[in-house]
Chain length 360, copies 2
């Protein structure tokens, strides 16, 4: 790293920019002077407003020409000052590294781009100051709207500040319970039910669940649905079959260890995310356990890697694109929204190689 730095402190900004930044960006006034018209005429030509007032074709051409020649770029700050939208969509997420949220961000970015928006990333990172994300992204930037990905309800000040913020805020995968902000959610109950039905149909009677506990939001909904579904099949869910696990690969691997150390280990494990399930797949392999012969494992989300694990993962496909579309609509239109909608979309069971007949 040291090779990238200089020893003597000096004006970094000047040094950095000197290589390319020539004269400062040309303004409308520069064009006006160069063309010999008034600055407002330039504005009329360049602002793209569909000829609020007619402009002589000759003038227009000349202005356009010099503008191009000077390499003119409109100054978005000045436009923004005049009340134009910033065309910036803030997306706040805890961890971009989670493949599921990476996919969601991708979808949001694509959806935003379609509408001429760009995405500003906000971190609600564990290590960061709680208010940081909001202060940084919301107040310091002028986003036109904000998307919240995942359950951030354990960031109380964050949620609170959101209530009286001046721009639309929409939450995704924030659970379906009311929390004061418009929310787009998925039907966790039906997704988990499909999984448990599938497992029960394969003859499994000892089914466990491992995931992050004590938080609100989707994960807890999935655990609750798990318990209800298993009971619905006349099966038991002893406390030992519901264990806490952080939502990482490692968390999944460790959860598997603990479950397999039980006097009577489960024959199937339901994970509330694919990330956890992938960790379990790895853990099972480390135990010398064959999936699905010795153990069935299911995930939730259907992230891209789920189709390419060893073996491929049976999971519940999240309607990510549709959810993001709904959320972006709620946030920045173009569709109008009256009142606070809380659309809930349906997931779909995807059966692959990680589930099979119960052993024995």
């Amino acid at each position: 790293m040291s090779s990238t730095r200089q020893d003597a402190p000096s004006d970094g900004a000047a040094a950095r920019s000197s290589s390319r930044r020539g004269a400062s960006a040309p303004t409308m006034r520069d064009i006006a002077e160069a063309t010999g018209v008034s600055q407002s005429t330039v504005s009329r030509v360049l602002s793209g407003t569909p000829t609020a007032v007619p402009i002589a074709e000759a003038t227009r051409k000349r202005v356009l020409a010099t503008a191009h020649e000077l390499g003119y770029r409109p100054n978005p700050l000045a436009r923004g000052l005049r009340g134009a939208p910033t065309m910036l969509l803030g997306v706040i997420v805890r961890d971009i590294t989670d493949p599921f949220f990476a996919g969601a961000i991708e979808a949001a970015s694509l959806e935003a781009n379609k509408r001429g928006y760009n995405v500003v990333l906000g971190h609600a990172h564990e290590s960061a100051d709680e208010a940081q994300a909001l202060t940084g992204i919301l107040e310091a930037r002028h986003c036109d709207a904000l998307l919240f990905l995942g359950d951030l309800r354990d960031r109380p000040t964050l949620i609170e500040e959101l209530q009286d913020c001046r721009i639309p805020v929409v939450a995704l995968w924030h659970g379906s319970r009311e929390s004061g902000i418009p929310t787009v959610s998925v039907d966790n109950r039906s997704g988990v039910m499909a999984v448990v039905d599938h497992l029960a149909g394969l003859g499994h009677e000892r089914i466990a669940f491992a995931g992050p506990r004590g938080r609100l939001g989707d994960i807890t909904e999935r655990e609750d649905a798990f318990v209800a579904s298993v009971h619905g099949h006349g099966l038991e869910t002893p406390e030992s079959y519901r264990i806490d696990a952080v939502n990482t690969y490692r968390g999944g691997a460790e959860a598997l260890d603990r479950l397999m150390a039980l006097p009577e280990p489960p024959t199937a494990i339901v994970a509330p995310t694919d990330v956890l399930a992938m960790g379990m797949l790895h853990g099972a392999h480390a135990h010398g356990l064959r999936v699905p012969d010795g153990l069935s494992i299911t995930g939730f989300d259907d992230i891209p890697e789920a189709a390419y694990t060893v073996p491929a993962l049976t999971t519940v496909r999240m309607p990510t694109e549709a959810m993001v579309l709904a959320a972006v609509d709620l946030a920045i239109g173009p569709d109008e929204v009256i009142g606070d909608f809380h659309p809930m979309l349906e997931p779909e069971l995807v059966i692959r190689g990680s589930t099979g007949q119960a052993p024995g």
Copy 2:
């Protein structure tokens, strides 16, 4: 989706904002009036400038109080107009969904946050208009600097426009060859050499390579290094052992199919990314091939999932944080840079379960 929309068209923006947007944001003038001082005094108190001119403690307190009471937030657009930096770092990437780049974005975001910056995401998505990313992010937003992730050299207009752009641009994983922009790169040669040495040490003599071809940048450097290393061990690299594969899980799985269909299949495959290697792991499993007993597979990058595949992946760890740090330094400081540096960092071999003794 239809439930999220209304039938009758109306003013979407108004409807969306009506629920929370009250009076427009308080300005310094509002505070000035409420406090009974002049607007410039308010500015002096609030702008945080370390007392360019002394302010009476009493006035200061009163201003601060009303500012807080009114919920004042500085308007970044107005500040920017006055020449203040936007504190926005543009990050242009082809695919956020690639776990490797997701990690890089995370690192960049963290590093930017440390410096008070936020990250604006730009897509150089295949489907998007080439100029879109640049136009959208660079010209429409006023980023203070730009980071390019991955090899975007097949976007000629993009690169071209970058040359004469007014802000610092730094490229990462763009290959180490000159391309006119400051670049932070990794020593692909030494990484691949370590892998091939490891494989040769395990007795492998038929080693194949599969990755995207015909592009410049890191991947090609890895392929070249592969050929050189294998020859260095006195081994052959027939054309059939170097095949084209798109950099996806599916691309990896398909490459494995083709390699295994060869009359004399390789006993080890070197993949230039972990994503490809993971696809190969899956493909091998689908073929009933055991890794590493029947086949060794190596990756490159050491993405988080690499430690949790089945089996865990032998790979080359990318010094992502260090590289991003160097790039952000080059782009926005605080360290000054004289001239165009092209730091190159060292990767490190990580041996896990996907490589073993050559069969037979």
